[in-house]
């Protein structure tokens, strides 16, 4: 394992070192020590490497990730994994707001809770949260899956498109155009595979599915209150 000390070599050097890892690098295991809440740690990675951040991070850790697996052995700041394309991010603690914003692919796993706007404008990413999520989560979610083993806050899935939401606990309120949906066998199967991939032990049958009512898909003045 290669160790990078953020306090010693600085952010630019940490990220440049990780960016320099090519597709077929032999050095696949990295750790970053002393993150101390710094921003933009391990963002823009694009290689099949595994990076463990030993501590809590600031804004945009693992932003726009491709291929890499990033483990955050602490809590994660706002916008972690924003616009993730592929690969995996695992957060041992809690995640702040905007987790996985606009993510296009890959998976994000949160062992603790995720804050507000989790999965905002998600475009294909899969997010699995072991605890609860905050308000306005998956606002304008376009595609991908958001799995919540705990409770969801206010306005879940407001103005969503084709993203799917699976919640085991309570939903404080649903956002505009988001409705409860039937859990069909294919959804149970999908949910099981997501939970397995996330390494989280939970029974898919205990979850409820939510998604778009598709009433806002084409403008109608009688829906004006929802805009």
């Amino acid at each position: 394992m290669q160790t990078l000390d953020l306090q010693e070599i600085g952010l630019r050097e940490v990220n440049a070192t990780l960016h320099a890892q090519a597709e077929n690098t032999n050095q696949t295991a990295w750790e970053i020590v002393n993150p101390k809440g710094a921003h933009a740690i391990a963002c823009g990675l694009d290689a099949p490497i595994e990076v463990t951040v030993r501590g809590s991070t600031g804004y945009y850790c693992a932003g726009m990730n491709q291929q890499a697996t990033v483990n955050i052995a602490g809590s994660a700041g706002p916008g972690t994994g924003e616009n993730i394309m592929s690969g995996k991010i695992v957060i041992e603690g809690d995640a702040s707001q905007y987790l996985g914003a606009t993510g296009h692919g890959g998976m994000i796993v949160v062992k603790g809770n995720a804050s507000s706007r989790c999965g905002i404008s998600m475009k294909g990413v899969n997010i699995v949260v072991q605890g609860n999520i905050g308000h306005m989560s998956a606002f304008m979610g376009q595609s991908g899956n958001l799995v919540v083993c705990g409770d969801a806050g206010d306005a879940l899935g407001d103005s969503c498109y084709e993203a799917r939401f699976f919640v085991r606990g309570s939903v404080k309120s649903l956002g505009a155009d988001c409705v409860k949906k039937e859990m069909r066998p294919e959804h149970l199967e999908l949910l099981k595979s997501l939970l397995d991939e996330a390494g989280i032990d939970a029974d898919p049958s205990e979850f409820t599915r939510y998604g778009s009512a598709r009433n806002l898909y084409n403008f109608d003045v009688d829906n004006a209150g929802a805009y």
Binding site: G37, A38, S56, G58, Y59, S96, S116, G134, H135
Partner: protein
Amino acid sequence: MCGIVGLFLKDKSLEPQLGNMLTDMLITMTDRGPDSAGIAIYGDDSDNSMKFTVQSDTPESDFETLAKDLGDALGQTVQVEVNSTHAVLIVPAKEADSIRATLASIRPNVRVMSRGQTLEIYKEVGLPKDVAARFGLSGMHGTHGIGHTRMATESAVTTMGAHPFNTGDDQCLVHNGSLSNHNSLRRKLRREGIHIETENDTEVGAAYLTWKMREGASLGEALESALDDLDGFFTFVVGTKDGFGVVRDPIACKPAVMAETDQYVAFGSEYRALVNLPGIEDARVWEPEPATVYFWSHDSAPTTKEKAA
């Protein structure tokens, strides 16, 4: 647009360290607010007297004979402790209400930063580390304190535009965000007779709380009604003589992280601000919920509102 830090000590043995810990937190938030910095510190209780922190751009001439001149004007003994551009005046409590008027006549360029029995506020334009060094913030002790680094949005970068704002005796407020209805609210509050010094949006937030409390609300109630009446984005941290509160607007875009251990409750705009606190690794770390008032108090019998946390 700013960085906020706050520290409320539960463990009395940390009190000599308060300034030191807050200064480190404050400097960490420099990127969020390089224009000016300020700190509110709740220190020694001045029995039967009132403390005024005042500021002057020409401290040498304004402060040299201030103790004598103010004492003569009041017919009382007044204590003056000068600290760079600021000075703390300790006056008998019964004279407190006449201090502003007396100062205005004998020292027209001296401005009042705060008034309270334990509260002192120090704030100036400049980088947080320079402001902290100027006032020797790291050497200060106290029970709790709040700091702020400012990135000005629409109002001027001046000492008076710096946070914290003193809202009433021993009260202070800092803000991250921007209020969108502060102009009309300022006009309304001025009509209500509330003194508002600047065109700064945060001062309107502070003045709003003062007004609500003047009308009989508790701080908790004033913060609750602020959620209805203040428009825009805000994370507020407020201090009172015994307590420390946090409230975020219902949209809650502006960042906020809190940490609690048996020794303290801490607030930071970012987790970075908290990383050097003792025992942070094992602290309960969480983000305050939107539209929720949090409050901690040293008072043994806090009100229900104060126990909201």
